[in-house]
């Protein structure tokens, strides 16, 4: 979706146009779902968070600035909802642990492992899943969703420089995890002339 179309659709949504909302929904829904599902590693949770993201969008549509960039705005809301969910889950885990009710997470193959068609895709999904949420969200925003490091910095509430550092660390970690899972190289090195 180009910027002019995005601005026009946003203007219409601010006026309560449901067809414009559907167009925005169609453009971002799968991307938001993929982002949330890979962050949460749980389909049901991702769907709940996705629903809440869209509800926040329509509830706040008339308060959005006319020049709002929809992608970063939606990913910021989705990411913040996931952070809130993680905090709530951490509280629940502590409570469950204190009651000796905690059970380990299922080691079963995730829906993404099954969906990732290629062997490399499956390895990437597993390697991504093994990273911390912080590292994963950076790779998902920049690598998978194609946000610029500056946009991703805005989504995560850090400076662009901090985001570049995070991205570098996360990328290194991902390459290491991939190498651990299979010694065959995924990342080739190229020669850079001095």
């Amino acid at each position: 979706m180009d910027r002019d179309t995005e601005l026009a659709l946003l203007e219409r949504v601010r006026g309560g146009d449901t067809a414009a909302f559907d167009a925005i929904h169609a453009a971002f829904n799968a991307r938001l779902y993929g982002f949330l599902a890979r962050l949460a590693r749980n389909r049901d949770v991702a769907e709940d968070l996705l629903e809440e993201t869209w509800l926040r969008f329509v509830t706040h549509a008339d308060q959005l600035r006319a020049d709002t960039r929809l992608g970063p705005w939606l990913f910021t809301v989705a990411r913040n909802l996931h952070v809130t969910w993680c905090r709530a889950r951490a509280v629940e885990r502590r409570a469950a642990a204190s009651l000796d009710m905690w059970t380990a997470e299922s080691p079963a193959e995730s829906p993404f492992d099954r969906a990732a068609g290629t062997e490399l895709g499956q390895r990437l999904e597993r390697a991504l899943g093994s990273l911390s949420v912080e590292a994963r969200e950076v790779l998902l925003l920049v690598g998978v969703e194609g946000l610029t490091p500056s946009e991703a910095a805005g989504v995560c509430g850090v400076t662009p420089e901090a985001m570049r550092q995070r991205l570098k660390r996360a990328r290194t970690l991902l390459a290491e995890r991939l190498a651990e899972s299979d010694p065959r190289p995924v990342v080739r090195l190229r020669e850079v002339k001095p």
């Binding site: 829904n29 629903e51 969008f57 068609g117």
Partner: protein, 80 residues
């Protein structure tokens, strides 16, 4: 000679595809959002104006109250 990593890894990440959200769930979410956009449960124009006015009047009232408290305090201390 410097050796730098080629960003093939990021390119592979960009090509990664995940499962799509369930269609039934999508339809339900869209229906809920349409209801919100059509104004179901949304404040009307009067309520929005009242909220706008309240958002401006309340901080002003708090500010005036603060000034009065400070002035009275200074009077009590004999500085005014």
């Amino acid at each position: 000679m410097t050796v730098a990593p080629r960003d093939e890894l990021m390119e592979t990440l960009a090509d990664l595809s995940g499962p799509a959200p369930r269609a039934a769930q999508d339809a339900r979410v869209r229906a809920r959002c349409h209801a919100v956009l059509k104004g179901v449960g949304r404040p009307g124009p009067f309520a929005r104006k009242a909220r706008w006015a309240l958002d401006r009047v309340l901080p002003a009232a708090v500010l005036i109250y603060g000034v009065v408290v400070v002035v009275e305090g200074l009077k009590l201390a004999g500085l005014l």
